[in-house]
Amino acid sequence: MQAANRGDERAYRQLLTELAPLLRAMVRRSLGGGGHADVEDIVQECLLAIHLKRQTWDESLPLLPWVGAIARNKTIDSLRRRGRRTEVPIEPLEEVLAAETPAEGLSTGEIDRALAALTTRQQAVVRAVSVDGISIRETGAKLAMSEGAVRVALHRGLAALSAMMRKDQ
């Protein structure tokens, strides 16, 4: 994380990739037993929050408790937002639930829904860089924007996504 904060993009990407399964485990443990379709959504929200707030991490303190606090807060937010569905008795629904639990890495598309509410330009940039996997320079060429404009649109788009998730409460 320290390397990432000094601009090492590869280290940052590796960090986020390694954090994802860790976050999944943390969230699952917080949510308790049973299958949960929301786990991946919460994990994505956590990663987005970690990304947007990474400069608030005090580098002299250990990283994992900081990540754990974010995970806990996002899980609570999610429970509040979805009306604590997880407290409903699930025995009669067990067969249905097992089929609904999505594969790892897939979510119920909470972020996709928020993405659709972004401005056209931000949406296009975020989609191009994430889903299509195009580099920033190529995105600029494809959308007829300068590289700087793409970077700004990407950052603002991500911040808007985060704001939208929090607005639902």
Binding site: N5, G7, E9, Y12, R13, L16, T17, A20, E40, V43, Q44, L47, L48, H51, L52, K53, R54, Q55, T56, G105, L106, S107, G109, I111, D112, L115, V126, V129, S130, V131, G133, S135, I136, R151, V152, L154, H155, L158
Partner: protein, 74 residues
Amino acid sequence: MRTDDLIRALAQDGQKGRPPGRALSMALVASLPVALLLFLVILGPRPDFATALENLRFPLKFVLTLALAVPALA
């Protein structure tokens, strides 16, 4: 959206926010003179400021306020 896609977008976003320590320092530097100015203009220091300083109770008020402010900022 797949989580890997999201990570790909996050990794490419190099724009960082301001660290909270710096943000607070900058806010203080901007606001302290304004507060001081407002005080001088609207309230004004007490006319017997010089004589009040001799009585121990008056300077102690400043000591107390500073004693609260300094650890709060640290």
